[in-house]
Subunit: 337 residues, 2 copies
DNA sequence: CCTCCTCGTGGAATCGATTACAAAGAGGAT
DNA sequence: ATCCTCTTTGTAATCGATTCCACGAGGAGG
């Protein structure tokens, strides 16, 4: 592949001049500029980003480590992140942790080795030593969706606050005469895992409803765990009459289990989920869900990170989720307010 | 961040020696090696991959340009590609073309600028000049899923052959007394867009069934186009009694339209799709689909590409799809053969 | 004791860019 | 003609690694 030297000799100038033309440095005579650009075109020259990065100490690349690519929420997030980054002149390298801390660490390590300019992380755990290292190493970092408490001062957090939406959901369920409400929680090591339970518990309290321990199923954000949690609920002497799954995959698993037992949603049991995804429109029945503004989340995270990368102060951002009512809790379609 | 020089001076050796230790060069005295490794550990040193790439002219990175991240088929493909690549010591940079040729070109260009070692492409079009350039530039390349005819000699193709499965599907539909079969096709610019129509047409012919032009809907692999195509079918004086969508998103759109008109699957019209995805189990009704061995496809593509990258001959690979019968065509669940 | 090898190590070139600094040339002021 | 300034260009250092080559020490063989 042609290098800057080839261009220089073809245009009859030095490499410095070629570099200046390429970087729009003003001190180049117009006719020199044209000669260089001609040489560039003739050779089909493209600057070597590796060499450039080495010299300038910036890669114009961001890293994004997400918890699970197969979860539509995260792929939509990844998509919006990439879109916004591209618009701002950055590329994105995506690492999929698959909800496994060691795989997350692997990705963080290789991204750091590649000297990405900034790192967007949705941590799968409570904070591995490597993440703390990464923060200290000085690479700009922003948490998105999930975060790790305790390093909030150094690392902005871009997330969704679902409290109001969870309250709306509980109100919706209550209004449909559901009184025995249960939740399938995410891993306690993640903030989203804990917070959604907390919000749910508080909302229940506001309606004077209890949340007994056996109505808290422990899941791991994967479909199978939702299925198992639902099985345990249904095996209880007094099963819940409504179940809230803390993410879309667990809701899917829960629905499997319900169907496998010949029960029906919402007649036999109501079901709702955190995270709205296009497929929820097409399930049987369509699923009531709490929708995060995923695109907005991703774009805000990128802007925040790039602010940091370029030396500006980076804001933490919190956006709000909203309830999308469908038929899985017994109501007819239509959204509140 | 610490560089190799810092390690060298801390260990009291030259940078050459440090480099030898890091690369497992045998000609290093054991005690020197330990001293160096200690210095590495104390400084938390990690080699700069950018500098290394510049010198060695290899990045140990592969590029993957897919047509649409929001399509579960492609995210599963991306996942398996990344898994296999990681196992073989490579990273993957994913570019999402969003079915737009210019965005595809953007990604190919930046990947090439980054001097990735090899490129995996599922082209959105019939071959932009840039792709041809990329091939000529000598960067190892492999097509996955879709390909571009005419440059097959230089570029291996790893794909699924769905002919048998399509024939099984047609037999299945025929067995359920469907006689007016229609297809929602993908873009004619893509190989998968054309091939699935061809396979369908041939299978129909084998059963003595016609495929009139008005039974060929033109889609673009996105949900909306599926919806429009289905609308046109349903507006025909004699609508089809079974529709085969050439990908999962168009099937989804088609189902929307059917539902919006108050019709039911499979009672009023049968529906089947190319590409099986987990969600098809949960739609109403579960959708009969042709399943590609997506993981296998991705892994084979990576192995083929890496063969090429490392100078071995790279095979083209064709795997077979199979029919997964569910309820959307009228049969009860269970798979043929 | 001298020569020749082998082993371990360091010096320096190199990859392809950017950029500080120097220098050459043009043009204007005196 | 001389000096100064400004514009345009080239030379060379630099980023952080890898790797060729040379060199010194030590052992083997004569």
């Amino acid at each position: 592949m042609a290098s800057i030297k080839d261009v220089a000799s073809r245009a009859g100038v030095s490499v410095a001049t070629v570099s200046r033309v390429l970087n729009d440095h003003p001190a180049v005579r117009p006719d020199t500029r044209t000669r260089v650009l001609e040489a560039v075109a003739e050779l089909g020259y493209r600057p070597n980003a590796v060499a450039r990065s080495l010299r300038t100490d910036q890669t114009r690349t961001l890293g994004l480590v997400i918890s699970d690519v197969l979860n539509p929420f995260f792929t939509e997030l990844a998509r919006s992140v990439e879109d916004e980054a591209r618009a701002l002149g950055y590329s994105v390298i995506i690492g999929n942790a698959d909800e496994r801390p060691e795989q997350q660490d692997h990705h963080i390590r290789t991204l750091l080795d590649r000297r990405i300019d900034g790192l967007l992380v949705s941590p799968t755990d409570g904070g591995s030593p490597l993440i703390l290292d990464a923060v200290r190493s000085g690479t700009p970092m922003v948490f998105v969706d999930r975060w790790i408490p305790g390093i909030g001062n150094d690392v902005p957090v871009v997330r969704t606050d679902g409290c109001d939406a969870v309250r709306d959901l509980v109100a919706h369920l209550h209004g449909l005469d559901h009184r025995r409400l249960a939740i399938i929680a995410g891993p306690a090591a993640t903030t989203t895992g804990r917070e959604r339970v907390r919000a749910f518990r508080e909302a229940l309290a506001a309606f004077g409803l209890p949340l007994p321990d056996e109505y808290i199923g422990q899941g791991d954000f994967q479909a199978d765990s939702g299925r198992r949690a639902m099985a345990r609920f249904l095996d209880l002497p007094v099963p819940p009459d409504a179940v809230f799954a803390a993410d879309n995959l667990m809701a899917l698993g829960a629905m499997d289990e319900i169907r496998a037992r010949g029960l029906r949603v919402p007649d036999d049991i109501a079901l709702a989920a955190f995270d709205d995804i296009p497929w929820f429109l097409h399930t049987d029945p369509p699923i009531t869900a709490i929708a995060q503004p995923t695109g907005e989340l991703g774009r805000a995270a990128v802007r925040s990170l790039i602010d940091r990368v370029e030396g500006r102060p980076a804001p933490s951002v919190t956006v709000s989720a909203r309830l999308v009512v469908r038929r899985s809790c017994g109501a007819s379609e239509g959204s509140p307010r």
